[in-house]
């Protein structure tokens, strides 16, 4: 199976969490003899090539970070320029986001079915997973801890050609966090997480409190 992969993140490749996920996912794919060509939507210079590849491909995978409950505006801008296929291709999606709960991604997932139809493709399903916000803040083993779970899903996709399996469905994790976990995470957000965010902000050159109100 040869797959056209489109990284639908507007963030440049170097800082793209979606790209780091794809690194592991494609490692799994290639271990099962699938091949792929990956493009980045963040690089407008690639748009002509992606359009051509879309026209010529029968197996398409778009990896997407959730932006306000749906797909990013930049990706929509690109997709608007495509000529819909005639049912001769299958399109699948990886949808990822920052919040940990699966429920946070369901509204976006629902749109991807509508999108597949509008692009004239058969829907190959969506691999849904959150809790990915911190990928860009880590390197090496720490980052691998978060992203390596996608390798197995790459194998699964290469074998099945879609994300309809039970394994893929379970990959999402809990739809909502249990009450004790919410209590713990809520407490963490009021204490340690605030300190961690402040440290990251300082490292990025931030000179204002994170709840600063510039337009009050």
């Amino acid at each position: 199976m040869h797959v056209l992969i489109i990284n639908g993140s507007p963030r440049i490749k170097a800082h793209s969490n979606t790209d780091k996920i794809l690194e592991k996912f494609t490692k799994g794919m290639t271990s099962k003899a699938a091949t792929f060509k990956q493009y980045e939507i963040s690089d407008r210079k690639q748009w002509d090539d992606i359009r051509k590849a879309f026209d010529e491909s029968s197996e398409i995978l778009i990896a997407i970070p959730l932006y306000v409950e749906c797909i990013p505006g930049l990706l929509i801008e690109f997709l608007e320029t495509l000529t819909p296929k005639k049912g001769d291709a299958r399109i699948s999606f990886i949808l990822q986001g920052g919040f940990a709960e699966g429920i946070q991604l369901r509204c976006g997932e629902e749109y991807l079915k509508i999108l597949s139809e509008n692009l004239g493709c058969t829907y190959g399903g969506t691999l849904v997973k959150g809790d990915n916000f911190s990928i860009r803040f880590f390197e090496g083993e720490q980052r691998d801890k978060i992203t390596s779970r996608y390798e197995e899903m790459g194998c699964e996709y290469a074998v099945n050609g879609n994300f309809h399996s039970e394994k893929c469905r379970k990959f999402t994790g809990p739809e909502i966090l249990s009450a004790p976990v919410r209590l713990f995470v809520g407490l963490l957000q009021k204490t340690l997480a605030k300190k961690m965010f402040a440290r990251i902000a300082e490292g990025w050159g931030c000179t204002k409190p994170l709840d600063y109100r510039p337009y009050q």
Partner: protein
């Protein structure tokens, strides 16, 4: 104050809105984006972690960010594509994120960003074309939750009277 953002090139929509709003004495501010430069969100997270509340993309979106903390409602007028808002309409929503902070909390059983400002701005959509209306309604409700706000509904340009009846 009601903030109206028209992302289409069709000013007859806002002309009709003005007429209807004037007859009901609605305090409104209309932004026509056809003469503005509004880029997509690039997901840099600077608005949360580097320049809190300010967008790193220096374009004309700032006028919306300046008005949002003072608006009771925002209505986005948008063309549609692929069953959904077109990219210009979606960009208006994507670029709202500086009104949230990096801090997180649970609202009910789901995590949310802590809002930056005290004011909550409810959101509504007026669309052209033929989107998947049921999905768009569901999406707008869900999108509003991100700002701890409510959805004002989703209306076609043939339903401007109905949309104005939801304005205050």
């Amino acid at each position: 104050m009601v903030l109206i953002v028209n992302t289409t090139f069709d000013r007859s929509i806002t002309d009709e809105l003005k007429k209807q709003m004037d007859s009901r004495n609605i305090d409104a501010k209309i932004i026509e984006t056809d003469s503005l430069r509004i880029s997509p969100c690039i997901g840099c997270n600077f608005c949360w972690l580097k320049t809190p509340g300010e967008c790193s993309v220096k374009d004309d979106y700032e006028i919306i960010l300046k008005n949002l903390p003072h608006a009771d409602q925002m209505w986005v007028i948008s063309d549609t594509a692929l069953g959904f808002l077109d990219h210009k309409g979606k960009n208006i929503y994507d670029r709202i994120i500086p009104i949230g902070t990096m801090y997180l909390k649970f609202v009910g059983n789901q995590m949310r960003h802590v809002p930056r400002y005290d004011k909550r701005t409810d959101v509504g959509i007026i669309y052209t074309g033929n989107p998947d209306v049921e999905y768009l309604k569901k999406w707008n409700t869900r999108a509003a939750l991100n700002f701890e706000a409510g959805s004002l509904g989703v209306f076609s340009t043939d339903e401007i009277k109905e949309a104005v009846s939801c304005m205050c």
